[in-house]
């Protein structure tokens, strides 16, 4: 009897040790994330000022602000969303409303899964060959937006499909039962009900587009320009690329350190802020569904 009890004690002890290891793993991961965020916040906060956000770089980028890079990133991201949102929602409508099991669906799923796995630098090469070279857009806002748009397409499809699937089947049945066609049902019932979910999910794609560097290096970004783009065929500065350039290619790398931290802080706030908003809204919506 006492032997049994001792056995049980050891079995419990082994469980507690194992769970302690898992706790440590989580602590390491969160510690790394928290440490990075905190360090950048402390180092970068001093550089942030109104001028930093609204002025162009001066004195071979050792002074001044990041305004052109900030605006460039906003334009690129907006362009990427304009490309990815319609295409992504249409693909998601197919997956959730039209698709039936079979070869076509398997092919579509295969295409989306593999597109999601293509390395971002390969998207950059693809954008360079197709948009910059073949379509003769040159290194431009348009070429970069198209490249980024295709890059975030799988993210948008995934988010939109999840949102569409959360619309209850009874909505569709009610609409069809009233004599509406399939397309009328999708347009007037399913899509409006799924819209908030589609939009929040897409914000995750937006965050990704804003933070990517490799795809725009050869398709859109220039390391220095004073003016904002006046046409889609202009080159633009971008925050991620600006960080890379300041950290590696400048002639005054040590002098610009505070500016670098400031730029990193702005980029992190932008990207993580967007993601956080999307994550919070999404988890709220999952919890209190309206139907």
């Amino acid at each position: 009897m006492s032997q049994d009890r001792r056995m049980l004690f050891w079995r419990r002890a082994r469980q507690e040790m194992a769970f302690l290891v898992f706790r440590l793993a989580v602590l390491v991961v969160l510690g790394a994330l928290g440490g990075i965020l905190l360090y950048v916040l402390i180092q970068g906060a001093g550089a942030i000022s109104w001028e930093f956000l609204t002025a162009a770089p001066r004195d071979s980028m050792t002074k001044g602000g990041i305004f052109p890079a900030l605006m460039g990133t906003l334009y690129l991201t907006l362009g990427a969303v304009l490309v990815a949102l319609p295409l992504g929602v249409a693909a998601a409508v197919y997956l959730s409303e039209y698709a039936t099991e079979g070869r076509v669906l398997r092919l579509v799923r295969l295409g989306i899964a593999n597109l999601a796995g293509v390395p971002s630098v390969v998207f950059g090469l693809f954008g360079l060959a197709l948009f910059v070279g073949y379509f003769k857009l040159g290194i431009s806002l348009a070429a970069g937006s198209l490249t980024l748009g295709l890059l975030i397409l799988p993210t948008v499809i995934g988010a939109a499909e999840e949102a569409l699937r959360q619309v209850p089947g009874t909505f569709r049945e009610a609409s069809l039962g009233l004599g509406a066609t399939r397309w009328q049902t999708i347009r007037k019932v399913v899509l409006p009900a799924a819209l908030p979910g589609i939009l929040t999910g897409s914000i995750l794609g937006v965050g990704r587009a804003a933070g990517e560097t490799a795809p725009i290096m050869f398709t859109a970004a220039t390391f220095f320009t004073l003016r904002l783009p006046s046409s889609p065929l202009d080159q633009v500065m971008a925050l991620p690329y600006h960080i890379y350039v300041l950290a590696t290619a400048g002639t005054h790398i040590a002098q610009t350190r505070p500016l670098q931290y400031g730029t990193v802080l702005v980029l992190i706030s932008l990207v993580l802020g967007l993601s956080l908003i999307a994550i919070v809204i999404r988890s709220r919506m999952r919890r209190h569904k309206k139907w």
């Binding site: 793993a25 409508v93 092919l107 796995g117 998207f123 090469l125 399939r182 950290a247």
Partner: protein, 323 residues
């Protein structure tokens, strides 16, 4: 998969055939035709991703294949010297492939225990409230831009490493692997956690009811059931680390050599493309060589992704019966 339309659609078609006379029928037919056209449009939108994949392959190979007019495939893949700007240039990518393999392997050695541990904690140990906070935190880590991790590795970690261990440079395999591990952990953790949750509940309950501890239930019942999902997560995490550019561009050191230790600099495949494309004349031999590197990288990650897809299908848990 539930398709609420299939029954309705059949009934609709049947109805059209029954009322086969007059204006009523004509209006029905045109609206059905419209529905067919709209349906085709959405099928096309679904297939668009596949079209993009095809275009990527086509353009990558069209530009990359140009290199093999002057350099043989075996010289390219097995050559140990990468001096693309010398005269005559050397286009041997073996050091770059080995560099990519080194950072990918080491980063997965770091990321797999941490990622799987995080998943196990989230799925098994954490209470509901802790999980509500931790899951978004892990997602946040996933959305950290890679250039930020590259920057931290380069500006913060590299000088520290140099100081601590008295090594020539902090920009090396180990530093890059640490940063890549941070990118791979969220992928591994979230896919593994989904897999753990997908194991049928009754199996766990049966095990617990027989008197097994939660740990015994986890290792003997739940982990075997979730193994395919965890494997898929690990492979996708490795694929993400292999294709990641900014971290290896900024932190791996950039020396095109076969590393002898984890404190040597390397030049993984994506780093070479990103560093050199800017200074390469359009259409030159070097330009084609960088696309050829892109082909190699694309095929390597594609292989990983296909293995992951096969893995998740092959060992899929189909209800309680397959265990």
């Amino acid at each position: 998969m539930l398709n609420p339309f299939s029954g309705q659609a059949l009934a609709h078609k049947g109805l059209g055939r029954l009322t086969s006379a007059g204006i009523m029928n004509r209006r029905k037919r045109t609206s059905t035709e419209r529905e067919v056209i709209i349906r085709r449009f959405f099928v096309a939108a679904g297939l668009f991703s596949l079209v993009v994949m095809t275009l990527i392959v086509l353009f990558l190979f069209a530009e990359g294949i140009g290199l093999f007019r002057t350099v043989s495939v075996s010289d390219f893949l097995l050559g140990t010297a990468w001096y693309p700007t010398y005269d005559p240039p050397d286009f041997g990518v073996l050091p770059l492939i080995v560099g990519s393999a080194a950072v990918t392997l080491l980063s997965s050695l770091i990321a797999v225990p941490l990622g799987v541990g995080t998943a196990l904690y989230l799925a098994e140990v954490a209470g509901d409230r802790t999980r509500e906070i931790l899951k978004p935190a892990v997602e946040l880590l996933a959305s950290l831009p890679s250039v930020v991790l590259g920057f931290v590795g380069m500006v913060v970690l590299a000088p520290l490493m140099q100081q601590w261990w008295d090594i020539p440079t902090g920009l090396n395999v180990f530093n890059a692997s640490l940063m890549l591990a941070l990118m791979a952990i969220p992928t591994i953790a979230s896919i593994s956690e989904d897999a753990l949750h997908a194991v049928p509940r009754e199996l766990n309950e049966a095990s617990l009811a027989l008197g097994a501890t939660r740990w015994e239930t986890l290792t003997r019942v739940q982990l075997p059931g979730a193994l395919s999902g965890i494997g898929t997560g690990v492979i996708l995490g490795m694929s993400r680390a292999m294709g990641e550019t900014m971290v290896v561009l900024m932190v791996a050191g950039g020396a095109a050599q076969i590393p002898g230790s984890i404190f040597d600099s390397v030049r993984p495949l994506p780093a070479s493309i990103a560093a050199e494309m800017g200074e390469t004349p359009f259409g030159s031999e070097h330009y084609h060589a960088l696309f050829a590197i892109g082909m190699v990288l694309f095929l390597m990650t594609l292989a990983f992704n296909l293995v992951a897809a096969w893995f998740s299908r092959r060992f899929q848990q189909k209800g309680a019966a397959t265990l």
